[in-house]
């Protein structure tokens, strides 16, 4: 009916021919077509009002600046088995039962384009108020041919999935156990060089090769460390093959095969250690959010490590570990996650069995703030019993995370 009316109106107008006033929209379109456009060679928008102070601020050549603060309140029935560098440390150097507040991490990020060929990122972190650490200071090429890219400086290795991620993109308050156990308290990050290649395939396939100089650990970790032994001349090498399969608009498979080679600083200092890992990330997220902001993501990483514990002639000792987690966003502002961790699978003298089960419930009032309730149970299962058995430690945290400054982008 309406369509008929519309057509009739249009026909009536067409019939009226010369008598009708010329369409003002048509003449506006002609004017738009004839208008002088801004310099077609420029790729950025011109100032709407060149004297506008807001515009001048936007146009400064300062790097994009952002800061992220993670503050926690929590308690535990005993000390945790291990702490990653950016886990909340309720005890500090003290003994006893952890309880109270912690400033888990402050991160300051400065990012900018250096010139037509390079981009630079600087991330300074203060974990648990323990002094400034350079989390990353890395220069990346932007214009190498043939899908090649070089990164130099100090940076997080692309090894696995969570290692490359900063704290604020984690879905749980604490990093998985495999991070500290296999990659070190701060993860695999050190001064180094990365060369990577985006394969000319119709799907995403990327190969990275990395070399790092990892310093010796300051404290005794109390267990085997993979890397950082030998002399300063002993480099740690890593390589990662990442692939992505967009099964449908909503369903994605992202995975990686990872290998690293270095020298251990513990147990038998200087002995070569090899580390392999497989990571897999499956995500279902309908692209149209009117479906209710629903998404579900399943992420897992499995690590295996080999070492000649006493001398090069004895058989290789093997240990491993994994975590698997499921995170469901069930409303615009809410997501919930569950994770199971296990170290020492297989277990041996290198690595005892340690288990952890954790739950997280996250409330996101805006894109720039998060409040998370996190509960975990750690247990030391006896070698022959179920992975859930053994002496247990409970811990709970409330984590507040805010981000200010430049609008960050979300990596997949």
């Amino acid at each position: 009916m309406i369509a008929t009316l519309v057509v009739m109106t249009a026909l009536a107008q067409a019939d009226a021919g010369e008598l009708a006033p010329p369409s003002s929209l048509a003449s506006e379109l002609d004017a738009a077509l004839g208008a002088q456009l801004p310099d077609a060679g420029s790729s950025v928008a011109p100032a709407p009002t060149p004297t506008n102070a807001v515009w001048r601020a936007i146009q400064s050549l300062n790097p994009d600046l952002a800061a992220i603060v993670d503050a926690d309140f929590g308690g535990a029935s005993g000390a945790p088995y291990s702490l990653a560098g950016d886990d909340p440390d309720l005890l500090g150097d003290s003994e006893g039962q952890p309880f109270g507040f912690a400033l888990q991490e402050i991160e300051v990020a400065l990012t900018a384009t250096v010139d037509p060929f390079l981009r630079a990122e600087l991330y300074l972190a203060i974990p648990n108020l323990s002094g400034i650490e350079v989390e990353e200071a890395v220069v990346t090429t932007t214009s190498l041919p043939a899908g090649l890219q070089l990164r130099a400086g100090i940076f997080r290795s692309a090894f696995g999935r969570q290692n490359g991620q900063h704290l604020h993109v984690q879905d749980f308050t604490r990093r998985p156990l495999v991070n500290e156990a296999f990659l070190g308290a701060d993860g695999l990050r050190a001064p180094g060089l990365q060369a990577s290649w985006l394969a000319p395939t119709p799907f995403f396939l990327q190969l990275s090769l990395e070399a790092f100089s990892i310093g010796a650990p300051e404290d005794d970790a109390g267990h085997l460390l993979s890397f950082g032994g030998g002399t300063r001349a002993d480099l740690t090498y890593a390589s990662e093959l990442k692939f992505f399969v967009p099964v449908s608009d909503a369903f994605s498979i992202y995975g990686g095969l990872n290998g690293a080679l270095g020298k251990t600083p513990t147990l038998r200092p200087g002995a070569p250690v090899t580390l392999e890992a497989v990571d897999l990330y499956l995500k279902y997220k309908p692209p149209n959010v009117s479906g209710g902001w629903f998404s579900v993501a399943w992420q897992s990483e499995v690590f295996v490590r080999q070492l000649h514990a006493r001398d090069d002639t004895e058989p290789l000792l093997l240990d491993g570990g994994f975590y698997t987690q499921l995170v469901v966003q069930f409303a615009r502002q809410w997501q919930a996650g569950a994770r199971v961790d296990l170290l020492g699978a297989p277990s041996n003298e290198l690595q005892p069995r340690v288990g952890r089960q954790s739950l997280a419930l996250t409330f996101m009032p805006s894109e720039f703030a998060r409040l998370r309730a996190y509960v975990e149970r750690e247990n030391i299962p006896p070698p022959t019993a179920s992975f859930l058995s053994g002496p247990e430690t409970w811990a709970g945290y409330l984590q507040l995370e805010v981000s200010i400054g430049a609008h960050g982008a979300h990596l997949f």
Binding site: L29, S43, V44, A45, V54, I58, S143, L198, P246, Y254
Partner: protein, 303 residues
């Protein structure tokens, strides 16, 4: 000797002709961030371009997943056509970085920010901060719906294509003229539909209809999402409903991709009607072009 030189010259000439011919035949690979731009690029680029889009019309363009396959799409691009004004800030930068394609890096000839072609609305004149929500400090980026802006964007794309392929400039110009002629043919019909909307009081979900309300002379009375990107509070909704009753607001405009439940509730309580409006090509299967989009939008608004 002379003959050998001639032969050499001919071979060089032939090689040059063949290579230019091969280059000229190869369509320019254009990647756009939204589907409307893809349609405009296809219109002005004709068979000299091959166009792909990073997001779809049924998606919220603020929240596109930066899936790595999009890096592969961008890796092959000769030209990236984007909305700018920070609309894509949450997902495009890592894709451009990961594309390892220097042609589409910021500031290169293969990077086209179309916001330079339009007169921006809602540009803050004082310092803004995020207490006002996830605001766009450079102005409102939802500018591609009014036909005047579509012509400006199409002209901008045509200009950039001509810059990348100077030999085809006349072709791109002709394509642009053809596109504008098509729009002009629809203009009387659109104007008739627009006339009925002039002065109609509306509330919109997100503050993303400024360009449309100005074009159609709609009277924007308020927003369900009063602070962009932040879920509205019950207090705000109560105030809004009261205002809508008092002002006799007739329509609540919601993009197809937003959850309608809040809009439905507000409209019902205020005695208004929800208009689920497409805001991009591809928002619905039947909307395959910019012309379809304007047709569908005006039809929905007039319902």
């Amino acid at each position: 000797m002379r003959k050998a030189n001639d032969m050499k010259r001919i071979v060089v000439l032939l090689a040059a002709v063949l290579s230019t011919a091969a280059l000229a035949d190869e369509p320019l690979h254009v990647v756009t961030t939204i589907e409307t731009f893809a349609d405009l690029a296809r219109r002005v680029g004709g068979d000299k371009v091959q166009v792909e889009t990073l997001s779809h019309g049924y998606q919220d363009p603020h929240f596109v997943e930066a899936r790595p396959n999009l890096m592969v799409t961008l890796h092959q691009a000769d030209l990236l056509v984007r909305v700018g004004m920070d609309l894509e800030i949450g997902w495009l930068p890592p894709l451009v970085n990961g594309s390892r394609n220097d042609r589409v890096q910021r500031g290169q000839a293969g990077d086209l920010d179309c916001s330079q072609f339009i007169d921006p609305l809602d540009v803050p004149t004082a310092k803004v901060d995020r207490s006002q929500g996830d605001i766009h400090p450079m102005g409102n980026p939802h500018y591609w719906l009014p036909p005047v802006n579509a012509v400006r964007i199409a002209k901008g794309i045509s200009g950039r294509l001509a810059q990348l392929r100077p030999a085809d400039k006349a072709y791109f110009d002709a394509q642009l003229q053809k596109f504008v002629a098509e729009l002009k043919a629809r203009a009387p019909q659109w104007e008739a539909q627009a006339r009925k909307l002039s002065g109609v009081k509306v509330v919109t979900y997100h503050k993303s209809w400024s360009y449309v309300t100005r074009w159609l002379n709609l009277d924007e009375q308020g927003y369900i999402e009063n602070r962009p990107g932040i879920a509205p509070s019950p207090d705000h909704l109560a105030t809004l409903i009261a205002l809508m009753k008092e002002q006799k607001v007739a329509k609540v405009i919601v993009e197809d991709f937003y959850n309608r439940s809040i809009a439905d509730m507000v409209a019902e309580k205020a005695g208004a009607r929800v208009v689920a409006a497409p805001s991009d090509v591809g928002a619905r299967p039947a909307i395959k072009s910019y012309l379809d989009l304007v047709d569908a939008l005006l039809t929905e608004l007039n319902k």
